[in-house]
């Protein structure tokens, strides 16, 4: 494939550089991981760098033994899966007409979408509106506010706009309507952008805490990030006669590190599965096939 020596050097240089970048990207994460496996004493004395010191599983067993963590984990997982699917549907349904010149409202709506992206609603009106449609203390609030993101909508629309016209025209001649076009031709051939946006939506829903902070009072419905915040809020009140924490092997920092890793793993694990939709020529290939 690679013809000249120059090209080989070119690719080798790029590969080396990227490996170096990858290393820089991961190293700080190693320190977070090692803190989660180190004892409070080692962390407090600033002994931990890349490897755990005074290795212990206490931080991990503290968080993993909490039944409410697992409840919250599955709640978050469920809302992420459902929310992402719903979000892709709603986004595609709006992005598709917006990519068509024959859609007369397109111009106005696009301006409206951009405004919705740039302008941020003040917190109290937002609260009152969402509460007004019955989402206060309602677990649906973990999903519904996230099912359309203007930024993602614009990205999907610009991908749809690049869609080969000939293909659609052919389908129209066969008598397909717009709905069939969207679901039978356009979406199946847009896996790369769907995968991208699935990732974007999933990450937002998975990591959310602002919305539940505002709208959920029942701790049973706290998603993972809220639950984690509840675990590790730093205690500033000194209680006379409080029991000693000296013998505990974890502290706020080790717990925080463990929870950060815990919350990251599932969302990172998703990425390699989505990557197969980024394979070059996926779209064209499937047209031919």
């Amino acid at each position: 494939m690679l013809k000249t020596r120059g090209e080989k050097t070119f690719v080798a240089a790029i590969t080396t550089l990227l490996l170096l970048f990858s290393f820089i990207a991961i190293v700080p994460l190693l320190s977070v991981i090692s803190i989660s496996f180190s004892s409070k004493s080692a962390v407090v004395q600033n002994l931990v760098s890349i490897w755990p010191k005074q290795f212990t599983l206490d931080s991990w067993s503290y968080i993993l033994d909490r039944p409410d963590l697992w409840k919250s984990f599955f709640l978050t997982l469920g809302s992420t899966v459902i929310g992402t699917a719903l979000a892709l549907l709603i986004t595609a349904l709006l992005a598709y007409p917006l990519s068509k010149v024959e859609f007369r409202w397109g111009g106005v709506i696009m301006v409206g979408v951009v405004i919705a992206m740039i302008f941020k609603a003040p917190i109290i009106p937002y609260f009152l509106t969402v509460r007004g449609i019955g989402l206060y203390n309602n677990p649906l609030v973990l999903i519904l506010p996230h099912i359309l993101n203007p930024f993602n909508l614009i990205i999907m629309r610009s991908f749809f706009k690049e869609f080969p016209k000939e293909l659609e025209e052919a389908a129209f001649l066969e008598g397909s309507g717009y709905f069939r076009m969207l679901f039978q031709f356009v979406l199946p051939l847009s896996k790369a952008v769907l995968a991208t946006l699935a990732l974007f939506y999933a990450v937002v829903i998975w990591n959310q805490f602002q919305t539940p902070l505002l709208f959920l009072q029942n701790t049973d419905w706290f998603p993972l990030q809220m639950k984690i915040r509840q675990f590790i809020t730093d205690d500033n009140i000194i209680m006379p006669g409080a029991a000693s924490t000296v013998d505990l092997n974890y502290n706020e920092r080790t717990l925080r590190s463990a929870t950060v890793i815990f919350a990251m793993i599932p969302i990172i694990a998703v990425y390699p599965f989505l990557q197969r939709y980024f394979v070059k020529g996926a779209m064209i290939g499937s047209i031919k096939g």
Partner: protein, 301 residues
């Protein structure tokens, strides 16, 4: 005339039907709450509510412009915004082009995953790591020590704030930013490369003449979206990296409004500043949208 419209609707109605759920969402979750922005022109009190709070016109905008350090805060915001556009925004494009050159699929996926991981660390965690790196016993000073240099506490030195801001932005989000570009690259017709290779075009030429031009529309769209948040630099990042010693270069609109508006529950003022940021952002998008329409066929609307 009427018949033509009817004819149109017969064919095109599905497009309008499709759009309805999304439009409803935008109205309920975006536009109705946005209507509450009127409190920027009122002396909003939670007791009086939106209707009964008195109108005060541009009082809160004047308050912003009359702030003794307004020039400093606004200048810092502009400068950091500019650094973001010039130094941070292009990095994901370059990274994506580089990653695309790796042929081994496993290595490619590995690199992508590694680069994308930092995005999942919150700014609180990232800034904790950054403060550690620049502490007396941190990596930065260890390396300085190798060269016989006296230790430097960079986080309390205003000269280092902007570089740290740019580098942390790149470190945390550049890999994540490549995701869209990788999707766009994957949509490029492989036949283009095949015919280019037949013509004897080198790898570098293929990037210059095929990949990059075809990636450009996506870059343009993302640029327009980015410029809309020009004054909105990401509160969490700056707030967590800032110290009183770096206020002079790092205090921005977001941190200012946090301590004077949000922390003190001054909703009208916070809304006024937000409106100011958004209007500037919208104007920028409008200008660049027109420009990009002239240059290429692109543009957001």
């Amino acid at each position: 005339m009427g018949r033509v419209n009817l004819q149109r609707m017969k064919v095109y109605w599905p497009l309008y039907a499709m759009a309805i759920p999304g439009i409803l969402f935008l109205i309920i979750f975006k536009y109705i709450p946005l209507a509450g922005s009127v409190i920027a022109f009122k002396d909003y009190s939670v007791f009086k509510g939106f209707i009964d709070s008195p109108w005060v016109g541009f009082k809160y905008f004047h308050k912003l412009f009359d702030y003794p350090d307004f020039v400093r805060v606004f200048g810092n915001t502009l400068l950091l915004g500019l650094l973001r556009i010039v130094l941070v925004f292009p990095i994901p494009v370059l990274l994506a082009l580089m990653i695309n050159e790796i042929r081994k699929s496993a290595l490619k996926k590995g690199v992508q995953t590694a680069l994308y991981i930092p995005h999942f660390l919150s700014w609180v965690i990232v800034s904790g790591i950054v403060f550690d790196i620049f502490s007396l016993s941190g990596l930065f000073n260890i390396v300085l020590g190798w060269f016989g240099h006296e230790p430097i506490l960079a986080m309390q030195d205003s000269a280092y704030f902007r570089p740290v801001y740019v580098l942390t932005s790149i470190w945390r989000d550049a890999g994540w930013g490549t995701v869209v570009y990788m999707a766009a690259i994957s949509a490029i017709d492989p036949q283009l490369y095949e015919s280019a290779m037949m013509d004897g075009a080198s790898r570098f030429k293929q990037i210059r003449h095929i990949t990059f031009p075809l990636l450009l529309p996506t870059v343009l769209v993302l640029f327009l979206l980015e410029i809309g948040n020009f004054l909105d630099l990401g509160f969490d990042q700056v707030f967590n990296l800032l110290t009183p010693m770096t206020y002079s270069v790092g205090d921005i609109l977001d941190t200012y409004v946090y301590r004077t508006g949000i922390e003190q529950a001054q909703y009208s003022f916070a809304t006024a500043v937000g409106l100011f940021q958004s209007i500037i952002g919208f104007i920028l998008v409008y200008i660049f949208n027109r420009l990009s329409k002239k240059v290429s066929d692109g543009g957001v609307w």
